[in-house]
Symmetry: C3
Subunit: 350 residues, 3 copies
């Protein structure tokens, strides 16, 4: 059960070129490539003839040629050549998907194509702004994507899962959060004043002279885009009041795309607006990101295995679950609305 | 659903000796060995007592001794010894299968034993004739055997799957075939005149001076024996009229045996009637055969995975599918007839 | 279907320390550790909050802290800390299991805790007596535990499965056994007089001058404790009459604990009352034990695979199955009684 009329991150731009990238999204096989003019396009990764993946074939100009019998398909999914016959039956055409490259991200629309409105792409301007630079990565997760959303909307886990990167001193675990929602998003955040800095932030700045004031401000938008405004500044230097000049600040971006009901594409990026040309800082953030998000993956995958067993029993909710539960309710409502509306296409044949 | 009252290739002769060969055929475990006199025999690979595979035991004379409790079975499946007791209950006997070694191939009859008529073995005399020699191999395929029959009855795939061995120039892909059937077989074939030779045929002859006339003449007999009369001769030297003296000719043999509904034993052999003692030619054909048939395997296994997913949707048929679809119809009729007749034994207990 | 109101071997003592040992027992995840005072304790290996395994967390004093959100649980399964909140809802508590360390074995009670009577632990005094020493091991078996009980209650398999360790000359296979039962156990045994000694016993004594009198006396107690009084003495030296002074004698211990319906924890130990300080003898028995019991494992796992296939058909019983079948009947009765009584707790939520 996935929301379909929405944009999902499908790839980082460097992953898509003049070769065939096959990626399962919302449990459908999708084939991505760039045309000769550089545009990213996407069609079903299934030949209509004998149903083999087109990704086993090859690019011929702007078309993909099936590796088994040589049928060719253009970026609109039209079959444009069948060896040994001149007429091309319309049922040989395959599904094409709207694709947009924006904010240095490839976005895919799996829903009704006529509703693929580019203005619905989440605004992540800092991913494509000259004043900002990023360290990004991709993690494949053997777990349902909502478990990752839960994880990101719960700040308390940082103290236990990420001891060596993001966790500050133990007392952080007890600091409460504030939660807001206007029905289109959930925001959860907290300030942690006058504490030792967490290891990765210290490393990403070259250290702090003493204690820091730290912020973690999370925004989730359905179905699965989570951005965190996070940072640290020297304690008492005015960060809570808006002066971040004695600290560092980052957008921690989490673009989450269901692969199947039990697996997820996890695109993450730390974007910063300082030390833009300092490769060492980029390395600290990339290495720290992988370490951190693989720690999440290990925990979430363990959780999924218990769910898969059908034997974990009911989970007991506690106070820290308030924001994740709110997001799950909103997601459920949106899913129901989309189903009631009947505008989401059924799963494509491909 | 398999045809049972027929001979299937079970092994190449060199695979069967004074050791225990376990091979699953029509989804039954079969145990093959040679008696002291050299005869190949086959029984169910299951002890009747605690159901362990007899292949974990050992040969004792012409009998197989179970590795767990020492029961012994003769080539007719009779239990001939039970440690610790003198009486041998008849229900300890196991199934034996008719086996014949012919055309340098071990043939097994999985149906009603009384109907195991040796004259029904397909005539492949060139596999055991002094004027011919062969390069053979075995490929295990994780796919239903009919996908491989489809593949062999469709010549168009050669241009796309086998670019480096069997494909001639691109225009071959457009050359139509002729199809015949007398109700006992399907024949599909074509002549391709005055084209560059395909790489493997060039290598197997030591080259051609120029263009060639090429033939591909396929005969399928149910359920799954496919032989191809294939070759090339110098263009214009009279091959279409019957004079093959300025070229090379081969029987490409494909003996296909279902292992399970989704896996297949694929015995193949290139038999030739020239350069009989030239090991280099044998190597060209053996290496080319493995390369070629593993390319088919990769494509067919991808097709099977889509079928297994239950999500590939219907396949669209095109012109090149005419011969494969004809063979599938004939196979379906024969399967229905066998079931209606009720002469095929149900799956053995073993 | 497991008997629950009974003690099962859960670990060898050296396996449990100040780290977290996760072991599935009767298909429930169990977490074992030692408190600071050295006591072995056991709770469900599932956090009540988000159901992740507590074994991914860490010990904090005598409690285990969940690695995801920091909840802490004491050895009685009580939740004693939730980050960010002072009140602890009772439903956050998890199941704890009675544990006893006795006979150098960690015993676990999976049934109704109030019935966990230590006097029900099988008497294996030789495992913790100054006059005895042991060579022990652990084998994980991908098979139902009853297949292993069957194996141990059938002495005939020794001649076929264990040719290189325990098998004597071939005529042993024909020597009958005597069987007794008083309704609480099954005993099966035999004496084998004036035969060549089996290889492992010869090695464990430094050889015998000639033939031996050999005994194999097996006692099974439900559900799955099997001890064998086994040994060899010089032929004619009076062993059958009770004088074992010219031979060696061992208790071969088999503590069998279901992991799941199709997998088993197999704790084994050869205990001897001679050459207590001779490490070479310990090595002979440990190496011989692993070789022997891995041979059983290979056979039993093959048997399980046939059972899993649902296609092996019925097994034919023969004379040597008398003792295993008697034990299966007793086990079935005890299982029925426990279910009728309704005293076994249903599977814990965890």
């Amino acid at each position: 059960m996935f929301i379909r009329n929405t944009w999902y991150a499908a790839a980082w731009p460097a992953e898509v070129g003049r070769s065939l990238l096959s990626r399962r999204i919302l449990d459908e096989p999708v084939l991505l490539w760039r045309t000769n003019s550089g545009q990213v396009v996407a069609v079903a990764d299934r030949c209509s003839h004998r149903r083999v993946p087109l990704s086993l074939g090859r690019l011929v100009g702007d078309t993909v040629e099936c590796g088994y019998h040589g049928l060719r398909f253009d970026p609109a999914g039209r079959c444009v050549h069948i060896p040994g016959q001149a007429d091309i039956p319309p049922e040989t055409c395959i599904r094409a998907y709207p694709v947009v490259e924006r904010w240095k991200t490839v976005w895919l629309w799996m829903g009704e194509p006529s509703r693929a409105d580019e203005s619905l792409i989440p605004d992540l301007w800092w991913l494509d702004d000259r004043g900002w630079t990023g360290a990004n990565g991709y993690v494949h997760l053997n777990a349902n994507y909502q478990l990752l959303v839960d994880n990101l909307l719960d700040l308390s886990h940082v103290s236990f899962v990420h001891r060596e990167t993001l966790a500050g001193p133990p007392e952080e675990a007890e600091i409460p959060v504030t939660i807001e929602s206007d029905g289109t998003m959930v925001r959860v955040g907290r300030w942690m004043l006058n504490l030792d800095p967490p290891p990765m932030f210290a490393a990403a700045r070259g250290g702090f002279p003493g204690k820091v004031d730290r912020w973690q401000l999370v925004t989730w938008r359905p179905p699965a885009t989570v951005v965190l405004d996070v940072g640290c500044a020297e304690a008492g230097s005015g960060a809570p009041e808006g002066n971040r000049s004695r600290g560092i600040s980052m957008w921690s971006n989490h673009l989450i795309t269901p692969e199947t009901e039990t697996s997820t594409h996890y695109f993450w990026c730390y974007a910063r607006n300082y030390a833009l040309d300092d490769g060492a800082v980029t390395s600290v953030l990339r290495d720290g990101g992988y370490k951190t998000f693989l720690e999440d993956a290990a925990m979430i995958e363990a959780q999924q295995r218990v769910l898969d067993s059908g034997r974990g029993g009911p989970a007991v909710d506690i106070r820290i679950d308030e924001a994740p539960l709110l997001a799950r309710r909103m997601l459920g409502e949106r899913l129901s609305a989309e189903r009631a509306e009947g505008t989401a296409p059924r799963r494509a044949r491909a």
